[in-house]
Symmetry: none
Subunit: 410 residues, 2 copies
């Protein structure tokens, strides 16, 4: 059966209308006490309240019942890509998370620096957890020693402590496979393993990995502690039908964290520059204003509603919602044809982690019926006309409300 994305691709059309999709990361929550209010329910949000009373509302489940979405699957679902079908592996997510642009056919690999003793036996799988500065120093040595292998460009990036990322850049028309066994034996006292290809398409990559390991050990032979590399988590880069092709939208990403910019670029959005530190909300609004005439779709990402939940700081998460509420009138003043507000997953302060609970979803200025929901909260979302939806329903609903979809069939 073809999925909704294929159907939408066949029906979408270019129009003048503009869509803003605001993702309040991890915004869904839980009450601290049974029967109490969630973070959204506790927040004082006069602007959101007024908007919600005049909008269509519902709830969204990003991956499936009971499934807690990572940031990757959560966003891909909101962008309309079924997260069970479009899987971004750990290596690719690590690369994307530090701002590396990946192309179809490339392979991204997560690496650990290790300490090797006599006879290449692993003494420490994390090389004593080096500082980020030491990591960068080692990465610089490796970059100098291994700019390419057998004509394949090799890129090496610091992640943090003992973690680094390697990207092998495929030549046009010669995609690299990533179905390869680990180098990391996950125990000490033995040698690193040889990378073994599990299918013919991955044989070249396995050879690149083994040559990288060998040349890295030569380059680091005088290092007392950081003198070996271990690999696991190889990812090829899935082919995403481009956002522009599917939706006929000129799409812009307004985000400050590399992970979200990377996910947006994977589906082909234009990633705009944002001025300011950390979540840089004012800078994001300025970017939105400055680029208003140039695009017809804006993905506007707010991070701190998630990180405060991860910290277990209920009051601070409430506060971050209130800060967004203060800023909302500036977005409304641009008069988007369709404004949507949603989360990519819940992050209840109570659980200090992502969770499986559905998130509230709001569509403003579309073409909706009377909607009883009065606030942008989980409890009011439950009453809304949009119902409980899959994440992949969000984009089709936005497209429809922006009158950008033709009729299906005659």
């Amino acid at each position: 059966m073809s999925d909704l994305l294929d159907v939408v691709r066949g029906l979408s059309k270019k129009t003048e209308s503009k869509i803003v999709l605001v993702v309040l990361d991890g915004v869904g929550g839980l009450p601290l006490e049974q029967g109490g209010e969630t973070e959204l329910g506790s927040a004082k949000t006069p602007n959101l309240d007024k908007l919600a009373a005049d909008s269509q509302m519902g709830l969204v489940e990003l991956v499936g019942a009971g499934i807690t979405p990572g940031s990757g699957p959560g966003h891909l679902s909101l962008f309309g890509y079924d997260p069970l079908k479009y899987v971004v592996g750990r290596g690719a997510l690590s690369a994307v998370g530090i701002g590396v642009k990946l192309n179809s056919g490339d392979v991204a690999v997560r690496g650990n620096f290790a300490t090797l003793g006599a006879g290449r036996v692993i003494d420490d799988r994390r090389a004593g957890r080096p500082s980020d500065e030491k990591n960068a120093e080692i990465v610089a040595k490796l970059k100098a020693a291994i700019p390419e292998i057998d004509g394949i460009p090799v890129e090496i990036y610091t992640e943090s402590e003992h973690r680094f990322v390697v990207v092998f850049r495929a030549k046009a028309g010669e995609p690299l496979g990533a179905n390869i066994g680990d180098v990391d034996p996950q125990v000490t006292g033995v040698q690193p393993m040889s990378a073994v290809a599990h299918d013919p398409a991955s044989e070249k990559t396995a050879d690149l990995i083994n040559k990288f390991v060998e040349r890295a050990e030569v380059a680091l032979k005088d290092e007392p502690q950081v003198n070996g590399v271990l690999f696991r988590g190889y990812s090829d880069v899935p082919h995403f039908p481009s956002f522009e092709d599917v939706y006929k939208l000129d799409a812009a990403c307004i985000a400050s964290y590399p992970m979200y910019k990377g996910l947006a670029s994977l589906v082909g959005m234009n990633v705009l520059n944002v001025e300011g530190h950390e979540d840089a909300l004012e800078g994001k609004v300025q970017t939105l204003k400055d680029n208003w005439d140039k695009y017809d779709f804006f993905f506007f990402h707010v991070k701190k509603t998630d990180s405060t939940g991860e910290d277990g700081n209920f009051a601070e998460k409430v506060h971050k919602v209130e800060i967004f509420d203060e800023l909302l009138p500036q977005i409304l003043a641009l008069n988007p044809d369709v404004l949507a507000i949603v989360g990519d997953h819940s992050t209840p302060s109570k659980l200090q982690s992502h969770s499986w609970h559905p998130v509230p979803f709001l569509i403003h200025n579309g073409h909706g019926r009377y909607d009883p929901a009065q606030r942008f909260t989980e409890a009011e979302g439950l009453k809304g006309t949009l119902g409980l939806r899959k994440g992949t329903d969000v984009m089709p609903l936005l497209m429809a409300n922006a009158l950008k979809l033709n009729k299906y069939g005659a």
Copy 2:
């Protein structure tokens, strides 16, 4: 595309938390008069009311919109196995229904005793509907005459009246196919048909069937009425990913009727012995208490809410709900981390049969939001935060609420 079961299998983890899944068989109902109360709405259930007010609620559709589930698909759906994908044939369900344990590769067949006249022409396709005692007497003769065919063990079981079940036990590594034409021509005045294999994997089984028919007619040649056998409904045994493998649970089944024990054993649950007659509710609670420390998942089955509905006895179905309500505090006293109550389908007394209507679904003691539902009824389930769900969503939601699922993707 992978289904939710595969996703859950990759995310599930062993923890200390315990889950109890109570299935009130056929508990969903209908009002006798438009606008009236259902059986659940009419029942006096102080304990369930208190529980529901303090729980997450919703409604569950077991197979699909408008589809009335049999007991097999209803339960498989609750256990997380898509009933459209995991099909248990009639022969296998009959075998399971009389308590026969089937293994992958075996073939179970439904048989009818028939009366054959001169020239093997069928006079009566049901052999005059013999008594169950006569059936057992004939089955005993057949068992003595046909313990095996060509080295394949043959088991023969009384079902009722003219119905019996044959199980052909496959040798290890040599699964028997079940894609075979009927022996029963479904009309009288003609001879039984030869069983014909519809694929190479079923040729051996077809040969076994034809030899069985021949040898049975010899063994029964002196019987005046029950002197022939007809077959239709051949089932191989589907391979179920084991419950333990998918969910990392040590699961126990507490049920009194063979069908439910059989379904539980098909997915790999441990079937516990229950003392007592008929539905044996007190015996089931005792079994739950006695085994509380040995398992972390309990499927607790209550049958009489269904059978009273099948009888069209509204008042008695109400009463059976009230009996469960009286017993509920003993289950709660064990303090399960997650207690779920749900039905496997509706059985409205008004229809005297299973029906397609969604059933109420309750999750207690998990991690839920404020939930407006106040009673365990169809009408209150509609208000609940869990929404209207597929049956296969139940297990992922229980696993999530028991904090037994890792995050999907990074």
